[in-house]
Symmetry: C2
Subunit: 343 residues, 2 copies
């Protein structure tokens, strides 16, 4: 048996793996086997899934990570984390994911296996099931190895959290350091050697959010965002625009690991604009900040949680930073992050 | 205003349209504007959607159609039809779709606009809303113009329909001719000139299915499939395998348009293996066949509906065809359809 599997793993994706005939079917059977108990799809055109009455949360994300395999993770892990986190931050319990792949002819099946194993392990950690899938294959040079899409459904056990629930005076808490994912991936991509010292923060954050919800009152955390594409800057600009209030953060309070800061300086990037895959921004009612920090810090993904700023009462769309010297500067919204394909 | 829009339409996709900063936001605003009332997403990380208690249907599909724009449709239309049809065939009412795009740098925004307009019109026809989206941009040569993913949710008003509900003696009905989508796309792709005479059948089939459900008893139609990748052959093999009974069809009964047959002969393809985007296979309780045919034929997408065969009581995984001369031959499952990227 070992031999049969090994010889399959040594093969590469061909166009016929995506045409709906026998080879397609065999590839799907292989993938379903690797996913094991995490896959609960039926062999029908749609999955049929029980949900409670009320609102569900739904979100979609495609992943074009370059490189798709890196030091402490890969596109399979990111594809679960990204979608799980988008469901969790609106206050939903992530429950079901679909998984759609676009594979380039010649992609090694061993690599596909690796991504699926990592996707399975992350889905187990996050407590989500894969309920339906799709695989398309394109010719050489028509994609870059592997692209994934996960679309997720979550159910609500408490009221949804919305940006517009945030009020002036609310504190902004980050669950962990920023910039690590970007530095790690750029370092792997460019062969810079930082990747051994700075790991991606990629993680499913629903467990961390559950810890907070169990520790504090329902409306203590008004709203949450995972800080991904566009970085902290994009999140803060989004809130400032939605609320119509200026946002102020403290430069000294920003959690940036020493090696990450060094590497960022060398790479010429600003961690404020860098994509992360396991960092949560929480907008917290002031009296609840200590309790929220305590709850975050007891969880492995929140050990370095810290307050970085607040929503001001100034009615203006602006994000400003108080520097180490006390001077206030404006953080402008970037036209583009100039750093594509990190998620 | 005309000028501003026109000048935007003349632009091309750049990497910064996918990095989460200002250009990303502007592109999203443009797309949301084009989708109009069809888009009901909130500016949160997940959409929040009401559903009734019970089962929902969920399905995902990526679209890598080549060419993405063809005579009577495009990738936007197909992206709605494919997912709507997968929900409708299990007996669900298609309700919500997510839309994820992977765009290649240099893709013309005018083409993106065209795909979105067509997606919007098809969503209106099918009665579904777009509830969340995602846009990624990759470099030149890292994708082929535009790839879409739609993931859909449907709700059930009656029991789900499953393959395993089909019984020996049930008749197999096709809602319309096979092969047209494949011939149309291949003709456009290769510049053969057939595309004016043979149009793609691409259509959302939930209205057609509703017509049937209104006309006949709940269990008259035991199961349905839309005949897409792998063609009729793949569908029949799938049912034969799931049921453990041989399937028999009549060659003379197969609905194949005259021009399609000619073109297929010239192209060396067999319409039985050809992908379609608006053809339904129904597995029907024998006494209900006339009523089902009548209901199908009153709908524009079912005018050419016809019985093509039946599920035999022979306990064997096989698909056989009775030829025009009365001889029975086996239709083998293809290894691959050799015709990639038709959906």
């Amino acid at each position: 048996m070992q031999t049969a599997t090994e010889s399959f793993l040594d093969q590469q994706i061909v166009l016929d793996h995506g045409t709906g005939a026998r080879l397609s079917r065999e590839l799907v059977a292989f993938m379903v086997g690797v996913l094991g108990d995490v896959y609960i799809g039926e062999m029908e055109d749609s999955a049929m899934l029980p949900v409670p009455a009320g609102n569900i949360a739904m979100t979609t994300d495609s992943f074009v990570v370059d490189p798709p395999f890196f030091g402490n993770g890969d596109i399979g892990k990111i594809a679960v984390c990204g979608t799980v986190n988008d469901l969790a931050v609106v206050g939903a319990e992530p429950r079901y994911l679909t998984l759609a792949m676009i594979l380039e002819t010649g992609f090694p099946i061993r690599r596909l296996h690796q991504a699926l194993v990592s996707l399975r392990e992350t889905a187990i950690e996050a407590g989500v099931k894969i309920v339906a899938g799709d695989t398309k294959v394109v010719g050489p040079g028509e994609a870059d190895g592997i692209f994934l899409n996960t679309t997720g459904i979550g159910v609500f056990h408490r009221p949804p959290k919305r940006m517009t629930d945030v009020r002036p005076g609310d504190k902004i808490v980050l669950s962990g350091p920023i910039g690590n994912h970007t530095v790690h991936l750029l370092s792997v991509r460019e062969g810079l050697g930082f990747e051994k010292h700075v790991l991606s923060d990629c993680a499913p954050l629903n467990g961390l959010i559950d810890s907070v919800n169990e520790a504090v009152a329902e409306d203590a955390v008004r709203s949450m965002r995972d800080v991904t594409r566009g970085g902290l800057s994009a999140v803060l600009h989004e809130y400032s625009a939605a609320l119509g209030h200026a946002v102020r953060i403290e430069e000294e309070a920003l959690p940036i690991d020493f090696e990450t800061r060094m590497a960022s300086d060398m790479l010429g990037i600003n961690p404020i604009n860098a994509a992360n895959e396991g960092c949560l921004a929480l907008f917290v009612e002031p009296d609840a900040v200590e309790a929220v920090l305590k709850a975050l810090r007891t969880h492995p993904y929140g050990r370095k949680a810290t307050v970085i700023g607040e929503i001001t009462d100034r009615p203006e769309k602006a994000v400003e930073m108080v520097g180490k010297d006390g001077r206030v500067s404006e953080i402008e919204e970037l036209q583009g992050a100039e750093l594509p394909r990190l998620c």
